[in-house]
């Protein structure tokens, strides 16, 4: 189940775990990424907490935890080569996997059509 946030993140939710990344729109707006800081595996976040940082040549931006939960896996490949986020934001450029504390939180997320309207 693919969901989005108004903060330009995507979540691919499979059972109780969501894979999280930033949208193509966000990656384009940021421009060339040169640095990614990811959370530790095992870190616990509440929805809306700063979970990761991305930096383009020009500026730093926060990536929020789109739902509450515990980090189960992070994508070291984008730390080693941040340009992967620009070239494949919805695929190889994923950031982390988070085990959901409250599945009800996903109800407030946007579906793909709603997100497309947001950025139109």
């Amino acid at each position: 189940m693919l969901k989005f946030t108004k903060d330009h993140e995507w979540l691919n939710i499979d059972a109780d775990t969501a894979t999280v990344g930033i949208t193509a729109h966000a990656a384009e707006q940021l421009g060339d990424l040169v640095f990614v800081d990811l959370p530790e595996v095992g870190a616990q976040f509440a929805m809306g907490d700063n979970a990761a940082v991305v930096e383009s040549v020009k500026a730093a931006s926060d990536v929020y935890a789109p739902v509450s939960g515990k980090i189960t896996e992070v994508n070291q490949a984008i730390v080693d080569d941040p340009s992967i986020v620009n070239s494949d934001p919805g695929g190889a450029g994923w950031f982390f996997k988070i085990k959901l504390d409250k599945s009800a939180e996903t109800e407030g997320l946007l579906d793909e059509d709603a997100y497309k309207q947001l950025i139109a």
Partner: protein, 385 residues
């Protein structure tokens, strides 16, 4: 996610003569110093940076201020001496057809703006920063004597920078190839009368071309018709100048920094120093001359972060990995595409301003190691001979 770079511009923004060209070529327009300027074009900042280092880039710098000073006597020396009361530079000896870097100072020895001064034979041409150009003009109007005349030039300004810049410009103005670094000439560029200097803000060979606004798009398109020339936005302009160790007014220098602290003493000639033939005689001369002989408490230095995280302007510098008090501040910082790593500049105590000295920069609550490094990070390739 959030974009901390979100603009907060509310006043209506002005457009330069090249606005339509930027939009037509896909420039992402942002508010900068009161103007709508392209921060980047479709290739993006990294590619635009490399394009300028390896071939040539065309920059719209028409937002900058251009001012002309003439003397009623007709003698350029009179205009030069009048200007020398506001800048610790040797304008009097500046030969016709040459340009110098200088700065306006205040009574405390701080820097009001940095600028280029060119001697065009019958007048001095000043190029000043966009954000400070109104204040600069007011400063000149209220301080220059009645014996000189100040004129604001509403002209466009195009920078053509990079190792292939000379070949591109030579197609439109063959004499450009004869110029050396910091030469200034009146040239016909594609038939348009322009004032051309061999200078820039990238650490590359290149030119700045002052021209009538109504010819700006035609000449810019003619330069861009060269396969080696691409339009470049403000983002790459910033990363290029940072690698070249060049100061950005408002970040690395301002009214709170003196030229000595900023490491710009090379721009203050012997003639304006203690014992020189026109020693002092500029605002803040007491402070600046004293610092020239005794040194300043702090200095601007290059800083190389050890890790991959950019260390940006405003980051505080500590000697300890935890605790302690801040001893310095980062004034410019970001990713240096030519170096493939973060680079920064900032102010540290003079005793600690030697290459290799380690500091820790506070970035989002973490102390990241940064080492003092020689400037520039990228060695310039100017045409000096």
């Amino acid at each position: 996610m959030s974009d901390s770079d979100a603009g907060a511009a509310s006043a209506p923004l002005e457009k330069t003569a090249l606005y339509d060209l930027h939009v037509a070529r896909g420039g992402r327009m942002v508010g900068f110093a009161g103007y709508e300027m392209p921060v980047q074009f479709p290739p993006g900042i990294l590619k635009e940076h490399q394009q300028t280092r390896e071939a040539a880039g065309l920059f719209d710098v028409s937002h900058m201020g251009q001012l002309a000073i003439t003397a009623n006597s007709g003698a350029i020396g009179d205009a030069a001496l009048a200007l020398e009361t506001l800048v610790p530079a040797d304008v009097k000896s500046l030969p016709t057809g040459r340009q110098r870097y200088a700065f306006f100072t205040n009574e405390e020895g701080g820097i009001l703006d940095d600028l280029m001064i060119a001697n065009l034979g019958d007048r001095l041409l000043l190029v000043v920063n966009a954000a400070t150009k109104t204040a600069d003009e007011a400063l000149l109007r209220s301080n220059l004597p009645d014996t000189v005349r100040l004129e604001r030039l509403d002209r466009a300004l195009i920078a053509l920078q990079g190792p292939k810049a000379v070949d591109a410009l030579r197609k439109l103005a063959p004499e450009a190839g004869d110029m050396r670094f910091m030469d200034v000439r009146q040239l016909n560029v594609g038939g348009v009368p322009c004032t051309v200097s061999r200078s820039g803000y990238t650490g590359e060979d290149g030119f700045e071309i002052s021209l009538p606004q109504d010819a700006a798009i035609t000449i810019a398109e003619a330069l861009l018709a060269d396969d080696n020339v691409e339009p470049i936005g403000l983002g790459a302009r910033d990363s290029l100048r940072l690698e070249a160790g060049l100061c950005l007014y408002g970040n690395d220098i301002d009214t709170g920094t003196t030229p000595v602290e900023a490491g710009l003493t090379w721009a203050i000639p012997r003639s304006r120093r203690a014992g020189g033939e026109r020693a002092g005689g500029f605002p803040g001369d007491t402070v600046i001359l004293q610092q020239l002989s005794e040194g300043s408490d702090r200095l601007r230095v290059g800083l190389l972060p050890e890790g991959r995280a950019p260390v940006r302007a405003g980051a505080q510098l500590f000697q300890e990995e935890s605790g302690g008090v801040a001893v310095g501040t980062v004034t410019s910082g970001g990713f240096g595409p030519s170096l493939g790593r973060p680079v920064a500049m900032g102010y540290v105590p003079k005793a600690l301003a030697t290459a290799g000295t380690r500091f820790f920069a506070d970035v989002r609550g973490k102390r990241l190691p940064v080492d003092v490094a020689e400037l520039p990070f990228h060695k310039p390739d100017y045409k000096r001979t």
